[in-house]
Amino acid sequence: MEKIIEAVNVTYIYQTKYQKTKALSEVNCSFERGKMYAITGKSGSGKSTFLSLLAGLDVPTEGMLTVEGEDMRKMNRDAYRLNRASVIYQAFHLFPLLTVMENVMFPMELQHIPSKVAKAKAREYLDKVGLPETLYKKRPGMISGGEQQRVAIARAVAAGGEILLADEPTGNLDSQNEKVIVELLCKLAHEDNYAVIVVTHNDAVAAAADVVYGMTDGVLSVVRG
């Protein structure tokens, strides 16, 4: 398998006016396409910070994070998120005023994909995540949490990237929906060749992952490789 992301001695320090906090300490790891990764750890251990760096929303204070060998510091990180990496969240974070269909079309419109094409693709993705067509015109507030997370996954893959980052994607779901989502994520990794990186407390999610990392006080270690 080919490495897509590699972290080399990644350290991240939150700096406020009054204090400095080391959130990540010399993290070394790599992520490959076609695999699902789980990062576990307690709240405040640095998981979300690491995910934020992987999403290109920030850069390491020290060390280096590369995407296919290219230093993330030097790359256009907005384009990276737009075209290569997507994030899904525990709270789904769909646009509440847009319909299900519009939410999924959103990243494609950002890529200037013509509306008709985007709509067709959106239908395809929504179908793929198993969302019935009757919900396409509904707004997120009108559908269940599991359905919302499926929409979020559809939106994440709609951009056609290769890295899927998930922050506690099943945290707000019941066990039945949790199972569906985990299956979807696995499918994306194993069938669609995504590098799926999931930050989770959930043992079932961790169990489904190919590789499990543990994060303790900003230090990353391999739990299961």
């Binding site: 934020s52 907005d78 525990q90 709270a91 974070h93 847009l98 419109e109």
Partner: protein, 624 residues
Amino acid sequence: MMIRNSLTRLVRTPVKTALFFLLLSFTVALFCAGGSLWKLSGDNLRRFEEIFVTIGTVEQTPERTQQEAVWYADEEDFRYFNRAVYGETISSDVLDFVGAGYLSGPEQRAYYEALPFNYKLKEDNEGMPQAMIIEASPLEDCVPAGPVKIEVKRVLCSTYPVNDSPIYLCDHNTRYPQTLYADRTYLMALADGWTHEWEEKGAAAIFEYVPMDGPRSTQTDADGKRLSTDLEGTWIEELTPGFYETERGKAWLTLCQDFELQHWFQTFPVTATQDLNLIMAFYTKQAYLSQGAFFSKEDYEQGNKVCLISDRFARRNKLQVGDSLHLALRYANYAASPGRGGGEARLNAEGGIYEPFEESDYRIKGIYEVGVGGDGDWGYTIDRNEVFIPKTSIKNSDEHNIALHGPMKGYTTAFRIPNGTESMENFKKLWEAQGVDHVEITFYDGGYNKLEGGLKNMQTMSAVLLAVGAVSVVCMVIFFCHLFIAKQKKWTAIERCLGMTKGQCASALLAGVLTVALAGSAAGGFAGQLIAGSAAAQMTSTETFDTRFSNGEVQFNRERSEEEAVDGKAEGSGMLQSAYLTETDWRTAGLCSSLVFLFTVGMALSGIYRNLREEPLALLSESD
């Protein structure tokens, strides 16, 4: 796409969007109405500031009045008149005190008698009083307590030829006249008198001549102190051999010379002033410009040789604006106005005539007309041939040519101060602190105070409206920026995570807010403009003005004929209203609206900046 999404967000929150639009429009309307009215009232204040002039006239009040008995020969009785008795003449220097804030003056104006040269000072068919200096003898010894016949032996000078002899003489106002002897010859100064109703004697009415002043002098020094002289103004002298060789005899001959020089009583007065507004007829616009221009600031400052002449004088002498007028100023009278008439004696203290102390050509800068209906004290009226010049155009001192000086009068002494109650009250306070008695100051502001009060009320109200509008706008914009931007930070974070650049996120947020803000500002601005226009029209239709002595009123009557000008006085209030600016300036509303829009942009950008500073993933990791 950004704009479309942004607008979609607006459309899908219609209540919030409509509320923002309506409330913003309402508050912007208040703000713009306040702004427009505030500017309008400011413009009106400035406009009226230019139109109106505030002057004070100064008058030394008499210490007492004294009853004076004057004998009337035809009635064989006294008539009684009240005469003002002044104490020491108070100099106009008392008006020079710190803080007075004069715009012009104070001045105690002199008018100068100018040599008439060949200028035509009256119409051909216009008469003159008959006056003469003659040698005459009574036909018989007599006391001229009533008309007595005298034979004219020689005419030394006379307004008209004296063809009749004998003529009647009556020392009309002297209770016990001196006896005249038939065998003696007398030198006498006579004026045509009146028809003597000799009722008691049942005689027919007799046309008689009465005494007028002989050689006399009222010359003063620069401080107004009368110079000593031997000339007493006796109207009659007994002619003795060699009389004309004596000092008194020479004075009589000089007086004749002066009468001839001055074409008798044809006056050609020249008034020198620091500001034409200080002359009541110009202040009230009873005298107004028909051609040319008034004196400019430079004329006053640089003492340019320019003058204003009356239209009748111009017509009679075929003079036009730009022509030259030769002025030779002989003597000054600081006690009276030309309209009120002399009082000065024609000879100097030494019995000589006053030689011109200033002689030069003046360029006619303007021609004025005097409207009818100039009521009030005739001291304030303009004499028919009166010429006006800037005071500073007189380069030589008149100190040796002052024929009469006297107490300050309203028609000789005035000053100008800035318009407004504050200025007037300040002046009064400082003046009272001077502790000068027997000087009365009367202010004329043409109703400016009342007008100023109304406009200042309007300005205060509009300032309140402006402030309330501004505060409302600020609150409204902050509130809606909070709703549309600060509360949307998670939306922004999602967009960021989906790969939108910070610029795109900012555009998406701005587009919606600014669309509503632009529409609200424009609608509010338009509504504010309408409200301001309506309020301004309402105010001017209910405001009334005291147009007595109003310069504003006549300013707009200037082009009218004299007759119309009189009518215009009656409807002065309406005329002044036409001076009111009621058109609100759309630029003010535009400026206010733009300010609101820019403020919204500023607030929105500030909110967006704060949104974009948030760490997106941290924000989105927070549970809702």
